[in-house]
Symmetry: C2
Subunit: 343 residues, 2 copies
């Protein structure tokens, strides 16, 4: 039974909240309450202290942390959890690290899994590209550690980030390592995974929506189209040695399509390489800055005008270059798209 | 004020639910209730019928449909919504279509945006690859239309799907077109977008986690690694003409990495083409079947053993071939990974 009261001030709001919560509760909640009632009867016989009994149940049903899944327990699963808790062998708390994709910025493009990890994190280690909206999903009591670039300072070194996540986990904390977009796509997740493996720390990866997908959604384009492209490449503009060399001949073909990450600084290099390999100056390119965010900017241009349009439209923020894609309406103009997250 | 009762059967569960719900309610809810109280006083003077007043408030605070966002309204925003509702000019209901990525299957990998669209959809048009867990996020009252392949029957033709979404939207419904993975990656989203544009129907795209990202997360591998690969290709095994030709020379290079969608049937073709272009029989390949789901299966193999291992391990379901990736522990064995969604 769910009751929401507003002390008379907003009964309609209370009613809507009640209906909303009821819809979200699994249909199994009622049945579960019945099973709990019989287990409680058993427990009061073997555990006389009220406080102990309360603590046992709190260990099974903790707000946030997987509560939704536990509400779906079958009777057998509930009884197992009960027996485990009863064994009283509360295992020593061992930390773990979740490498979590924060998506491109809009809360709409955060996964439910990311939201759940943030709800239960003790420590949140985050980058410059993670939006405030997403950070706000963490608990107020969590420890927030910023490891992005501070104005005028160098980026926190990867070794330092590795050290932080390992140490926080060793201290028994549930750590969320939160990265913009998808940690698996130019997110250096592998370097952190290696550090965690070396230290013997449990970890998992929760992929996120990568910026290229958000950028394509914003211009109403599919990354792949039957009859047009049988592959799409995700590229970086930079690597450890500077501008990244790519398979320029393949990318210069008329039907080729690719999304370039960190491509702004490398735009003149990319333009030169592609044209050298025979790409037309008319080859369509769309620049999507701050994909999915309030300040998103979309510029439809061509390979020939790429460099000057980046300057002309003052594209400074994180941006994806979509090679071989045009925004829907026209090119060379700023374009207001249908955007995921708009209603 | 939130109260949860279990009629005495499970007070601990009720307490955990109450705490969980309170954490999730925006801190602004109390303030909002205060503002509503003053607007109600004003409303009762100008709208004498209780039922009319109730309907007006229900129009502002609807369960599911953006309720979470409305709870964060500032006083000004609330007053604006109130004035709009008061104007009583309920605009004629016009349908719209959201093309929504359902992700690879696990609820953890569904986006909050997808969840929101499902909560408010009148009609849900879905494919074979959408999991039951995700479908269950829709309202019970929604109309569910299956357009996947029925056993022994042909897949619903694309033209028929286009017709369904256009007609449902024209009938004034809020339509969610739900596709497994990301509709923008080998999901034929562009064909549906074109049909919607031709019919003049408002639409948007909500990208989803694509299967390749879920597959990589499951084997603990980053799709890109600094110093190893500067690009990753997403490929299809099939196109309109049969097995899809690709840039085999590029893919056969030792450091090349790619994820192949719909590659099971084309595995002998892919093996042959890559080896013809000089790829080693020892080139690592990982097969991930049903990525992120309970029945996920991971097989680390090599290009040389690819075809026989697909048969040996009875890989039948939707699968991603990760070319150039090894699962963490060993190859050629079934491997139980850390999986997003595990706790």
């Amino acid at each position: 039974v769910v009751a929401i009261g507003s002390e008379g001030s907003a009964p309609g709001l209370a009613r809507a909240l009640k209906a909303d919560i009821e819809t979200r509760l699994p249909k199994t909640t009622g049945r579960l309450a019945g099973t709990i009632a019989s287990l409680r009867a058993r427990l009061s016989g073997i555990m006389p202290e009220f406080a102990d009994r309360q603590k046992l149940w709190a260990g099974i049903f903790t707000p946030g942390q997987g509560l939704g899944e536990r509400l779906k327990y079958s009777d057998t699963e509930l009884e197992q959890a009960f027996e485990q808790a009863l064994d009283g062998q509360a295992s020593e708390k061992i930390g773990k690290v979740s490498l979590v994709g924060a998506g491109p910025g809009s809360l709409d493009l955060l996964t439910i899994g990311a939201q759940r990890r943030l709800h239960s994190a003790d420590v949140i280690v985050y980058d410059r590209l993670v939006s405030q909206e997403v950070l706000d999903m963490g608990r107020r009591e969590a420890k927030y550690i910023y490891v992005g670039k501070a104005p005028g300072a160098h980026t926190t070194r990867q070794e330092e980030i590795n050290r932080i996540i390992v140490e926080e986990a060793k201290a028994g904390h549930t750590v969320v390592r939160l990265k913009g977009g998808d940690p698996l796509v130019f997110g250096r997740a592998d370097e952190e995974i290696e550090a965690l493996e070396a230290a013997g720390i449990a970890h998992e990866i929760v992929p996120g929506i990568t910026s290229a997908a958000a950028a394509a959604a914003s211009i109403g384009a599919s990354l792949t189209s039957r009859g047009h492209n049988k592959s799409v490449a995700l590229l970086t503009g930079h690597d450890t040695k500077g501008f990244a060399e790519q398979d320029w001949a393949g990318l210069a073909r008329p039907n080729a399509r690719a999304a370039v990450y960190m491509g702004l600084g490398a735009s003149r290099f990319i333009q030169g390489r592609l044209m050298l390999h025979g790409a037309s100056a008319e080859f369509p390119v769309t620049i999507v800055e701050n994909a999915s965010r309030e300040n998103e900017k979309i510029i439809g241009t061509t390979l020939g005008n790429l460099v000057q349009d980046i300057e002309k439209y003052e594209v400074l923020g994180p941006a994806i270059l979509l090679l071989g894609y045009s925004p829907k309406e026209a090119s060379n103009i700023e374009f207001q798209p249908l955007r995921a997250g708009n209603e």
